[in-house]
């Protein structure tokens, strides 16, 4: 289980996150939702250690990530897989080398075992014919799938996805959504994903954290979120229904 407690973060004068406390349920798809610029990405970056919050705690199974020493931090990081908004595949490596990269760096697998694991992960994301292609040679949706394959290569306990379907067409978005949901169930991963897509939330979300202008505005299950009548949520919901 991941808990964040009283997270504050400012960039210069601008306070982006204000006293955020939230819990993310194990083995579920946890969706962080909020308007553009509300601070979703910053919150996620705080959770994985890319941005240091000004104060607060980030607990992975009760262990505080922020105050952990170097080795414990490294141990926690090995349990984290992350899919980036722009996929962030290594340009100089092919799809299969990208997936093999964390194995090469952190596992004691033999070459053969690595290859098997890479084939398994790429097969799991339904990419059986792109092994030798470079990121510049594949489509956005395929990049996301390679990104997911790389993120799950080391069998992580936690999967973070920063806007996994931004920049994709609606059909491909659903494919990626479903893939994330299946992987979460199949490998019993705790998934935390950022989105401003209501369809994603209602399709695959189990738990929702709603951020409004840097503050936590709602936390709970999807049904309660749908029924909530507070102004911020109604505004957000009606805007997204209107959009569709």
């Amino acid at each position: 289980m991941i808990e964040v407690k009283n997270i504050n973060k400012s960039f210069g004068e601008k306070q982006v996150l204000q006293d955020i406390s939230a819990t993310f349920l194990p083995g579920k798809v946890n969706v962080i939702i909020g308007a553009s610029g509300s601070g979703k990405s910053v919150l996620m970056k705080c959770m994985v250690g890319l941005v240091e919050p000004d104060n607060g705690q980030i607990l992975y199974d009760q262990q505080d990530f922020l105050s952990a020493d170097y080795t414990s931090k490294k141990d926690i990081r090995k349990q984290i897989g992350m899919l980036f908004q722009g996929s962030a595949l290594f340009d100089s490596l092919t799809a299969e080398e990208n997936v093999a990269f964390p194995l090469k760096m952190f596992s004691n697998m033999s070459k053969q075992e690595q290859k098997e694991r890479v084939d398994f992960c790429l097969h799991r994301v339904n990419l059986d014919h792109a092994h030798k292609l470079f990121p510049s040679e594949i489509s956005g949706g395929m990049k996301k799938r390679v990104g997911i394959a790389r993120a799950i290569a080391l069998n992580p306990k936690y999967l973070f996805c920063d806007e996994p379907n931004s920049g994709l067409d609606p059909v491909t978005s659903r494919v990626i959504d479903n893939l994330i949901e299946e992987i979460t169930d199949e490998f019993n991963i705790t998934t935390i994903m950022n989105s401003h897509d209501m369809k994603t939330l209602f399709d695959i979300g189990d738990h929702v954290t709603f951020i409004y202008k840097g503050k936590l505005a709602f936390e709970g299950n999807i049904e309660d979120f749908r029924k909530d009548t507070s102004e911020e949520i109604s505004e957000f919901l009606s805007a997204s229904y209107f959009q569709r």
Binding site: L50, F84, Q85, G86, A88, D91, P102, M105, F106, F160
Partner: protein
């Protein structure tokens, strides 16, 4: 004030890079790749520059020494000494700052703006160490080797220009070159080369690593990498000369 801010950031960057390195074997293979990239790929340009700068200095030295009172062997001494002391290390490194520096800064800058560096960090890899240290080690090893080559080719270029333009025969050129040759000059020059190799790779990596934004900023970082490396090369060139000569 801004100067101190950036210099401080540069020092912190170096510190970050050397702290907590990854597995040794990974560094070794990355370093070899970079040695090819920085060293072998720069051979043609280094050779051309060395040959021509040597040739030009023979022609121009001869032009400046029109008086018949001094022996022509002096041309050999002047040319070989300037090639060893200044042309080979400094001019070559200024050009390398352009070639190697811009490619390092744009490579790392692109990785930064497309979140590839974040991806490394999330995996728990010290991105600065993993990406930059192999480049710096490769630079510190390969640049002096390139400079040794540049010394030979520079002197050779000067010698050939002398004999082809019938300024002085090869024997006289070599006699002059030998008469003033000092081992210390070569050592001095290699100290410069090592320092410049460090400057080019570290300054360019620094510029790339702190790129924020998009493609436009990557281009800007790459330009800055060349400009700042060149300025630092000239500044340290002067500093080392003051200290050691």
């Amino acid at each position: 004030m801004l100067l101190f801010y950036h210099f401080g950031r540069y020092l912190l960057f170096l510190k970050k890079m050397f702290s907590k390195p990854e597995t040794f074997s990974i560094y070794v293979s990355r370093t070899f790749t970079e040695m090819v990239e920085i060293g072998i790929r720069s051979l043609p340009i280094v050779a051309i520059i060395a040959l021509f700068s040597g040739a030009v200095s023979t022609v121009q030295t001869a032009y400046q020494l029109v008086s018949g009172l001094v022996s022509k062997t002096i041309i050999g001494s002047i040319v070989s000494d300037t090639v060893i002391l200044e042309f080979a290390p400094t001019i070559t490194c200024l050009v390398l700052a352009g070639k190697v520096g811009s490619s390092i800064a744009s490579e790392i800058g692109t990785m930064k703006v497309s979140e590839q560096i974040d991806a490394l960090e999330v995996m728990g890899i010290n991105s600065a160490g993993y990406l930059v240290l192999p480049k710096i080690i490769a630079g510190v090893i390969m640049v002096p080797l390139l400079i040794i080559l540049a010394m030979f080719l520079g002197i050779y270029g000067g010698m050939m220009a002398g004999s082809m333009a019938e300024i002085l025969p090869v024997e006289q050129f070599l006699e002059g070159a030998r008469s003033t040759f000092k081992g210390f000059n070569v050592a001095f020059s290699l100290i410069k080369a090592t320092t410049f190799g460090f400057i080019i790779t570290s300054v360019s990596s620094f510029q790339g690593y702190y790129t924020e934004g998009g493609a436009l900023e990557v281009g800007r970082s790459s330009t800055n990498a060349v400009v700042y490396s060149a300025i630092m090369i000239l500044f340290t060139d002067y500093l080392i000369a003051q200290i050691l000569l």
